[in-house]
Amino acid sequence: MASLTARTRAILSVLTIVLIVLAGCHSDATNAPPSDGRLATGTWGGDSAGVLVNDTIAHVHVGSTYGDVRGRVPLDAEGRFTAVGSFLLRAYPIAIGPTMPTQFVGRVPGVRAARS
């Protein structure tokens, strides 16, 4: 089990340097989604990752893996976000746990969070 953990960490460390570019899929995608200072609800996709965002969770798919962030993800004034969640390295086609604590860091270009 120790070797599996070490291997998992090694693979995940590779993931940390992967830039996953997600693209919004509104019918008019040249417009950024509305932002209330948090990651917009909806289904978003990109070259290698998809995110399902609702009012209670952001569910991130990266290849055959997935992760979850509880709650709405806040954006800073430049559209950046950092969120702590969990990640399952081997999710498909058969889920094999356990999940691992993960920090999701990203940015929504073109979105500036509303500041009151």
């Binding site: 960490r9 995940l12 460390s13 993931l15 940390t16 340097i17 992967v18 830039l19 996953i20 570019v21 997600l22 693209a23 919004g24 899929c25 509104h26 019918s27 995608a29 040249t30 417009n31 950024a32 989604p33 917009a40 609800t41 909806g42 289904t43 978003w44 996709g45 990109g46 070259d47 290698s48 990752a49 998809g50 995110v51 399902l52 609702n54 569910h59 991130v60 798919h61 990266v62 997935y66 992760g67 559209g79 702590v84 990640f87 999710a91 498909y92 086609p93 058969i94 889920a95 604590p101 993960t102 920090q103 999701f104 860091v105 990203g106 940015r107 929504v108 270009p109 073109g110 979105v111």
Partner: protein
């Protein structure tokens, strides 16, 4: 206790989808890198995950309120038959025992706010092979969220369909030849 975090970088580039939408016709099987395909498959993969864990409430959360399941199969002497399960019935079922359903080689088409996914699958339950077939899903984009409108699937046996390319799952018995 010190907690180790792995950092995953995500950049949400909200202008990428329109250019890919313009460059491919609605009849094209979208490549794996297409943003719309990834978004749609995130929903489909999530649905499979909930099917496998037996969480039918979570599965129904990915569906439109009016959505329906159509299991279709051929029965000796009767030809093609089908049954119907509504989203409400699916939700009321709550939880059931986990299974293994594995989809692969999905064909994904998107036009505007509708999508179709044609995906071969195999299914294992109670420690053994059950069946294989095709999952055919129609999804509709409501606002910015993709939801399953229809989930039709065949229930067949080889050679009409085949096992997932990964082979027999660990701990399971191979299907009878």
């Amino acid at each position: 206790m010190r907690t180790r975090f792995t950092t995953l970088l995500l950049a949400l580039a909200l202008s990428g989808c329109a250019s890919t939408a313009r460059s491919r016709g609605p009849n094209a099987d979208l490549p794996r890198s297409d943003a719309r395909r990834v978004a749609v498959m995130a929903v489909v993969d999530s649905a499979l995950g909930h099917i496998n864990s037996g969480d039918l409430v979570a599965l129904s959360d990915l569906m439109l309120p009016e959505a329906q399941f159509f299991p279709a199969r051929e029965q000796a002497g009767r030809g093609g038959t089908y049954t119907v399960r509504t989203m409400a019935a699916q939700r009321a079922a709550g939880k059931r025992a986990p299974i293994i359903e594995r989809g692969y080689d999905a064909t994904v088409r998107v036009a505007g706010t509708i999508a179709s996914v044609w995906m071969p699958y195999d299914l294992w339950a109670e420690g053994k092979w059950s069946h294989c077939g095709i999952d055919l899903l129609t999804l509709v984009q409501v606002g910015s969220t993709w939801r399953i409108a229809n989930f039709t699937y065949t229930v067949e046996q080889p050679p009409a369909c085949r096992m997932h390319p990964d082979g027999v799952p660990a701990g399971y018995k191979a299907p009878p030849q």
